[in-house]
């Protein structure tokens, strides 16, 4: 079944790896819905969080091809139910006039968003949440006049997953495996 799946890919920190990671998707004509790269809990190891709309079977095959890359340590595939993910969005809107201020306050309260900055003629709203939550707030803010909108890719943690350090230990064992 086609659905959004999240891949967590742990890699060495090296120039050029991004192109290799994305090409595993692009060469199969799979669009990457979202991609973020950050450090992981282990220093020197980077974590790619990639969301793509694919079948589980294809996601698993791509994970194997990701792991085939020399500098990829481990790639995990998670179904939607297993992951907790969050996006961050910023909205720049015109400063409401008259009674608008109170209405804006209510909208922000309802959506769990907050005002980050206020200038003479605009303010910046911050919201973290799922892509759906973020889209809902965008619609709610439209009447105020949205001047700019930007959203991050998803970052995701999974409910059940072994610690990265445990995988690093397994990796060390694999290096010395013998018959």
């Amino acid at each position: 079944m086609l659905e959004n799946r999240t891949l967590s890919v742990f890699t060495e920190n090296r120039v050029g790896l991004l192109a290799r990671v994305t090409s595993v998707f692009t060469r199969r004509n799979v669009n990457i819905e979202s991609l973020t790269v950050s450090e992981s809990e282990v220093s020197g190891i980077h974590r790619f969080t990639i969301v793509a709309h694919v079948t589980r079977e294809l996601a698993d095959k791509m994970a194997a091809q990701l792991e085939k890359q020399v500098e990829v340590i481990k790639a995990f595939v998670h179904d939607e139910a297993q992951v907790i993910h969050r996006d961050l969005a910023l909205y720049k809107i015109e400063l409401p006039r008259g009674g608008g201020g109170a209405i804006l306050g209510r909208v922000l309260g309802d959506h769990g968003a907050r005002e980050l900055l206020r200038e003479a003629d605009f303010c910046v709203i911050e919201k973290t949440g799922s892509p759906d939550d973020i889209a809902a707030l965008l619609i709610a803010l439209e009447p105020f006049g949205v001047l700019e909108f930007v959203r991050s890719g998803s970052v995701a943690l999974t409910r059940p997953m072994k610690k990265l350090s445990a995988f690093l230990n397994e990796l060390e064992e694999a290096h010395v495996a013998s018959w």
Binding site: G16, A64, Q65, K68, V70, L171, H175
Partner: protein
């Protein structure tokens, strides 16, 4: 740099990056490299001049020739092939061969020059972002901008290229890194944390596989290049003889199992043996060893070996389940896994089952082979030329082929009596591969006869390498199977495009005269009577030789599994 390396570096000589590179190559055991100079790699060429008596550099005529020659060298020697080119056009001319090496698992280290680090990204003269261009077609690549990083990068490149499933690695050296001074110390690479080249199948999986094999009544083994790459030929023979399993090979698996072994059932795939294809769909256990179920092998996957329990022996985990889901996955080296599995299985023979393959062979002989090897009339056939040469060389030659009908004839009608005797471009199907690859093969195995079967089309893609053959004196025997057509494409046009021969006919030059201009001996043969004599003359000649054989213009290669058809629907005639 690691602390031990840093300590050692303090005592190393101060040399240029270019010299450090050349010394690293020597330290890695490189004896021969194929290349072509240019501005951005000149410091390295200058350093090569210092070692010109100990490190053999072969000057090709086009960088594509360098990379294909390095591939031929690597495939025959089992060592890492090395090629070297300048930045920009030099580097991009390597691309086809790198892609070929990637898909056919050939260990290469490709060295490219690059503009100085100060001007990277500015569209400087002959600047191409070759690291990005080659990222999807290399096993690993990197750019080096500092001389002090050279030795470690080279060691890592060789380690990655040759270990695990081998493949091409590219290192791009900026010109300033070649000029800068550094202390040279070489330490071989023995480990890369994120990369585990070895794998060992679990005991449970091995036991499960052994039980399947013991319980099988129609077991069938298909050997791929993994057998050759792991040096597993003897292990395969021992395993087959103990289990009585009929053995087929893929195109790249040719010569991993002797053609005339009683258990050999020939090649699978689009133009493979009739029996080898159809029996895939009646066997009960299919043992796939070091092969990747390429679509030219499987035809329609939905109708491929659905009845069989598949045991997949494979070192590259991403190949397991990619195209065919195995019942048992043996993630490991082909040789080691076959050796261990051989201890776990019981001695068996499967005479009745093997006889089914022979019955298919009889049908194929009748419908295809007899007419191909001894036609009643008409011009020479590709098969008979290959067959005569195989007889004349007693199956001892290294057979290199280009891509097309002649490639399939070479695969089908050669007799591989010795291991590591077939070099061809399989996964990429690169026309122009044959001539330079044959040169590389001959350089790697100067004592063996190297026969290159090439079409009149493919020959004209890289015939400039006759110059390299002349200059090196490599005694390559070039056999052009000349049908004045892009034969394989014409065959498809005949069979699937209503004989509309759109742009496939060739008006060719006199290839013997071209060879003569390069000082290479040659003969043109058009008739059956002259063939044997010409083959003898070619084999007796001490140097390189070009035999231009005029073959039947519109002959087809059969059997054929049309693309996307099932292997059961293999055609014996049009």
């Amino acid at each position: 740099m690691s602390p031990t390396l840093a300590a050692a570096a303090a005592t190393g000589d101060l040399v240029s990056g270019a010299t450090a590179l050349v010394r690293s190559l020597v330290a890695e055991g490189v004896q021969t490299l194929f290349g072509y100079p240019g501005g951005a790699i000149m410091p390295v060429y200058d350093a090569l001049y210092d070692v010109r008596d100990s490190l053999r550099h072969i000057l090709v005529r086009h960088e594509q020739g360098a990379v294909h020659a390095a591939q031929g060298y690597a495939r025959v020697s089992g060592r890492v092939g090395v090629c070297i080119a300048t930045s920009g056009p030099g580097a991009t001319n390597l691309v086809t061969g790198i892609a070929d090496a990637q898909i056919d698992s050939t260990p290469l280290v490709c060295i490219t020059g690059q503009v100085s680090s100060r001007v990277l990204g500015t569209d400087a003269f002959q600047e191409t972002d070759v690291v990005n261009v080659t990222a999807p077609i290399t096993k690993w690549n990197c750019q080096i901008t500092r001389a002090c990083d050279i030795s470690e990068a080279v060691a890592k490149a060789f380690y990655i290229a040759r270990t695990g499933r081998p493949g091409p690695v590219l290192i791009d050296f900026t010109k300033d890194a070649q000029i800068e001074l550094t202390r040279f110390v070489h330490q071989p690479c023995v480990k890369v944390r994120s990369y585990v080249p070895r794998a060992i199948p679990s005991r449970a999986a091995l036991a499960e596989a052994a039980a399947l094999i013991d319980g099988a009544s129609r077991p069938y083994l298909i050997a791929g290049q993994g057998v050759t790459l792991s040096g597993g030929e003897a292990a395969l023979i021992a395993f087959a003889e103990k289990t009585g399993v009929p053995v087929a090979t893929t195109l790249l698996g040719l010569s991993s199992f002797p053609t005339r072994h009683p258990l050999s059932v020939g090649m699978v795939g689009m133009h493979g043996k009739y029996g080898a294809n159809v029996k895939t769909n009646t066997c009960d256990v299919l043992i796939a060893v070091g092969m990747r179920f390429d679509d030219r092998v499987t035809g329609d996957l939905n109708r491929y070996a659905r009845q069989a329990r598949v045991i997949h022996v494979e070192l590259d985990a991403s190949e397991i389940g990619k195209n065919v889901k195995p019942a048992v996955a043996l993630h490991g080296d082909a040789r080691e896994t076959l050796e261990h599995l051989a201890h776990l299985v019981s001695p068996r023979s499967h005479d009745a089952w093997l006889a089914e393959f022979r019955a298919c062979d009889a049908i194929e002989d009748e419908k295809v082979v007899r007419d191909e090897l001894s036609p009643a009339s008409g011009g020479l056939r590709m098969g008979e030329v290959v067959h005569r040469i195989a007889e004349a060389t007693a199956g001892e030659a290294i057979v290199v082929s280009d891509v097309g009908q002649h490639q399939m004839a070479a695969a089908r009608y050669s007799n591989f009596a010795r291991k590591v005797s077939s070099v061809t471009s399989g996964g990429l199907g690169t026309m122009g591969f044959g001539l330079p690859a044959a040169l590389g093969a001959k350089v790697a195995a100067p004592d063996r006869t190297v026969i290159a079967f090439i079409g009149d089309g493919g020959f004209q893609m890289t015939l400039q390498e006759l110059g390299t053959i002349r200059q090196t004196g490599a005694a390559v025997k070039i056999v052009i199977l000349n049908n004045s057509f892009l034969g394989m494409v014409r065959q498809w046009q005949e069979l699937f495009f209503e004989r509309r021969y759109s742009h496939t006919e060739m008006n060719n030059p006199d290839f013997v005269q071209i060879a003569a201009a390069y000082g290479i001996a040659g003969l043109k043969v058009a008739g059956r009577e002259a063939l044997s004599g010409a083959i003898s003359a070619m084999l007796a000649h001490p140097g390189a030789f070009l035999l231009d054989v005029t073959v039947e213009r519109e002959s087809n290669v059969f059997p054929m599994v049309p693309s996307a058809a099932s292997v059961s629907d293999v055609l014996l005639e049009a």
